[in-house]
Symmetry: C2
Subunit: 217 residues, 2 copies
């Protein structure tokens, strides 16, 4: 499948590399067509990898992963354009982290609207599904590296078919065992507001190789 | 030990009853000395149980559990007064939930200051420890009812000795197996901002008998 990965940071690299390793053609999108980090990734990732602008990548992909810094997510998607995103599954991995006031980062939007909702509101014809933002990028694409994979992922989105497709990607491609459907895109609030707890656990555990498992009565 | 439980709702009832069952003398505090819900609890709980005003309970307790509705927490503590709280371990179980705009509730304070921090700021001589707010009240005092107790609690607070005492209460009295220390009271942000995810899981699991376990790499 042709897939777009928007963003050239560690998250974009991890997801794009995983997708290429599964045999998919992946175009990494950035502000400029010749971004150096994207070029370095293409060189490492081989024949199935390519790079382009946000618009070029969005046009290329049948599915679009949004792996930008949360503060840049809407700008990147506006650069991609509404038309190339229309009707597509848009997997929003980004977090609304604001580092401008120091560490730990605050969230620049939280209780009243999630970043996932802002994305869906700005691009009503895209099928936005929030996913993967609750774990470190290495865990996203290799859940088995933590506790034998015995921990959980969440999804939220308005379009049931799109959400089902994302669950297939998470379980069938990435190896997640359990994915909890948190309902419509407002469920992204819970997934994003979990980040401050994740950040504290990262500090106390001194590793990003962790996640939570939901234990039932 | 003499213990104060501020609040007459389901959380206050669950914690106060558990403490009495362990042989502690418990005074349930409320706005008025003759609160009907507190009186009903005293009648059920027996000789170790008593009721009083917030100030009366706070004076009585060597340890103070704050089990009020989050929107009422600071008012209740101001009614209790700074002097009776000074030097005491104050376990803040309350959540900053705002139901005024419908369900699910929003948080009335979140990313920039937690309710736990507001409490510590308003009562600098109290030793505030955030705990137990991340689970349903029945799970708080009986973690074994969910998955054999194989799930985790968190604490945050500025005073290390107070936090250590709370961890003893959680593990020795209430039966928690694993308690993660999230650092100073600003760690309460993570514990409170977890609530929207808890609420969504409650909706999807259709039971409040659940919790999360931290799984490590």
């Amino acid at each position: 499948m042709n897939i777009a990965v928007l963003g050239t940071g560690v998250v974009g690299n991890a997801i794009a590399s995983k997708l290429v390793s599964l045999g998919h053609e992946v175009k990494m999108g950035s502000r400029t067509p010749d971004n150096e980090k994207a070029a370095a990734w293409v060189k490492r990732a081989g024949a199935l990898a390519s790079q382009g602008t946000f618009a070029g990548a969005a046009s290329f992909g049948e599915v679009v992963f949004v792996c930008t810094n949360g503060a840049a997510t809407l700008d990147a998607l506006h650069a991609a354009g509404a038309q190339p995103l229309a009707g597509k599954v848009l997997i929003d991995v980004s977090n609304p982290l604001d580092f401008s006031k120091g560490m730990p980062p605050r969230l620049f939007t939280a209780s009243d609207e999630s970043l996932g909702e802002r994305v869906q509101r700005a691009f009503p014809d895209a099928k936005v599904v929030k996913a993967l933002n609750t774990v470190n990028c290495e865990v996203m694409v290799d859940p088995g590296r933590v506790g034998g994979g015995d921990h959980d992922m969440f999804v939220a989105g308005d379009d049931a078919a799109a959400k089902g497709r994302v669950v297939e990607i998470l379980t069938g491609w990435f190896g997640w065992k359990t994915v909890h459907d948190l309902g419509d895109i407002t469920g992204a609030r819970g997934m994003e507001m979990y980040l401050p707890l994740w950040l504290r656990l990262w500090g106390s555990l001194k590793t990003a190789d962790f996640n939570v498992r939901v234990v039932r009565g």
